[in-house]
């Protein structure tokens, strides 16, 4: 009897050990990544929040005094951060809407009207902007649209702009730069979503006597929702916080929140103000995107990107 029961516990621990090993595998696999992100992404974000609650000045250093009042002072102080914040959201939302309007037909064309042989070629033409540094591209617009630039000279010649009228340093030039720089981020996810649509669904709509327009609005558009959402996520986040387009293509009337954060950090060295502005920006963006996700009803947001 002892001989019969003796091996049993050994086997049980063996199984238990194997079960434990299988249970531990995913944790061991993701250990390095989670540690890296926790230490170099999550902790900095939280410490950014803490920095915003500090008081002090660049010369004597900053101390944590739990100064929550800074979030009120930001919007009542002499610098109109509220205006900058609103302006950034207006620019970002306008640019996002424009990229959707431009990107959807492009993605649609590549997904449905081009034979598979040519799809990747046509996509590469769209992606070609990524082969050139973002700063250089924006700089080139600065030179092209500037006073002596070929585009502004052309517009003057055909009397679309008056002599002395500048295209640069206007909301239009800043938003245009944003649209230009982020267009591909909208085209790609919409294209991926359109490409995933089962052709049989369109055939079914066709068989059920749906007109082209109703097939488009009641089959294609709803099914591409996830792609549009992913695109909005990428473009809106990028454009609202962006300091580059507004500093290269803008002027003092197009000052944005991204520039304010940079300025507070590097020029004024008001670390607490910069951190508070970053926190406000992130919270507002989070609210906007969360509300949008709720309204549109996107589940599994993380699967989209």
């Amino acid at each position: 009897m002892t001989a019969a029961t003796a091996p049993a516990p050994v086997r049980a621990t063996g199984i238990r050990r194997r079960r434990f090993a299988r249970g531990a595998t995913p944790y061991l696999l993701s250990l390095a990544g989670v540690a890296w992100l926790a230490f170099f992404f999550l902790v900095p974000l939280v410490s950014g929040l803490l920095v915003s609650l500090m008081t002090g000045n660049p010369d004597d250093g900053y101390q944590l005094t739990w100064n929550w009042h800074i979030y009120v002072d930001l919007f009542t102080g002499p610098t109109p951060y509220g205006t900058y914040l609103t302006r950034s959201f207006v620019y970002g939302c306008t640019a996002t809407l424009l990229t959707i309007v431009i990107a959807y037909p492009v993605a649609y064309y590549i997904a449905f009207r081009v034979s598979p042989r040519w799809k990747s070629t046509l996509l590469t033409f769209v992606m070609m902007t990524f082969f050139v540094s973002f700063i250089i591209r924006t700089d080139m617009w600065f030179y092209l649209l500037g006073g002596d630039g070929p585009i502004s000279r052309l517009l003057r010649t055909v009397h679309l702009t008056r002599p002395g009228q500048s295209i640069l340093a206007t909301p239009g030039s800043v938003i245009g730069g944003m649209v230009y720089n982020d267009l591909a981020f909208m085209i790609l996810p919409i294209y991926v979503a359109l490409e995933r649509i089962e052709p049989s669904l369109h055939e079914a709509a066709n068989d059920l006597y749906a007109r082209r327009s109703s097939t488009f609005f009641r089959v294609t558009v709803p099914l591409s929702r996830s792609g549009v959402f992913a695109g909005i996520l990428l473009v809106l986040i990028d454009t609202v916080g962006d300091p580059v387009n507004s500093s290269i293509l803008g002027g003092k009337n197009t000052w944005t929140i991204g520039q304010s954060i940079q300025f507070a950090y590097f020029t004024n060295q008001q670390y607490n103000v910069a951190a508070a502005l970053s926190t406000v920006l992130m919270v507002l963006l989070g609210i906007v995107l969360f509300a949008y996700a709720r309204v549109v009803g996107t589940e599994n947001v993380e699967e989209l990107v």
Binding site: P26, M140, H202, R212
Partner: protein
């Protein structure tokens, strides 16, 4: 070219008795025209970059006015102080951070794609937040963090932060590949007596090579083009985007555009070659 187009309405609607189907769809040029206009718009600054890199300006800054063709700036490519250092720093950071984020991200993608476990959703949310956090916030809070640690900024901090923002994209790309691959081949390897490590090494990894390459290129592109985040944590170390930005308002050195053109040409050649390879495989 139009034979295998999967346009929604090529299927014929149910026909009325005696109706002759119209086989030839009427031409609809609006979409292709729109597409090419958009591509033209996207190309404008690239054409300008190439043109200004061979424009013979009198002083060492580009002018928007055409002054005649010259290769001078290509001949004096490294004559701007610091341009070579900035360029090679960018390449180095992109290669290292791309490699490192794959080394860290691949096991994570395996865990997320192949296992169900407690905390999986949490990790997904963390990755999502990593992609969703605005660059300016990531950059400024990383700076605050490194300052509070009294870490000196430079190549090290640039690398750390680049890996941190690359991981999420690399994991997303690899996870999609792994899910698409399915597990049958790994199971078959297991049935034939291979342990999980052998199965991974001999079956999964070779199948994943195109995915790894794509993920690396994505990380490389994100890293080499990053300006906003790097501008906070670079210390005195210049990367190419930071270097180019320094010229913006004081007048662009044409050599910067020469480097831009060279990178563009190399990338275009790589794209054409991979395109040709893929086409042969189709």
């Amino acid at each position: 070219m139009t034979t295998s187009v999967r346009e929604p309405w090529v299927a014929n609607a149910p026909l009325a008795p005696g109706e002759i189907p119209d086989r030839r769809p009427r031409p609809r040029p609006a979409l292709p025209i729109f597409y090419w206009i958009v591509v033209g718009f996207l190309l404008i600054p690239i054409v300008a970059m190439v043109a200004y890199s061979v424009n013979g300006a009198s002083r060492n800054a580009i002018t928007p006015v055409w002054k005649g063709f010259t290769f001078t700036w290509y001949a004096h490519l490294f004559d701007v102080e610091g341009i070579g250092d900035a360029f090679f720093t960018s390449i180095l950071v992109a290669v290292l951070s791309g490699t490192l984020s794959i080394v860290i991200g691949l096991p994570m993608a395996m865990a997320l794609a192949r296992h169900r476990f407690w905390g999986r959703g949490l990790i997904s949310s963390l990755l999502f937040a990593d992609i969703a956090a605005p660059s300016i916030v990531v950059g400024s809070s990383s700076l605050a963090f490194f300052l509070s640690l009294n870490l000196s900024m430079g190549l090290g901090t640039i690398l750390i932060v680049h890996v941190a923002f690359n991981i999420a994209y690399v994991v997303a790309a690899l996870r999609a590949r792994l899910s698409g691959m399915g597990t049958q081949l790994e199971q078959a390897a297991g049935d034939l007596g291979a342990g999980p490590f052998v199965a991974f090494w001999k079956v999964t990894l070779p199948l994943l090579v195109p995915g790894l390459l794509a993920a690396f290129l994505l990380a490389f592109a994100l890293s080499i083009d990053d300006y906003v985040i790097t501008s906070f944590i670079n210390g005195s170390r210049q990367t190419f985007p930071l270097f180019a930005y320094g010229f913006t308002k004081k007048g662009m050195a044409p050599q910067v555009l020469c480097f831009g053109t060279i990178v563009f040409v190399v990338a275009a050649i790589v794209a054409v070659l991979t395109g040709l390879l893929n086409r042969r495989r189709l």
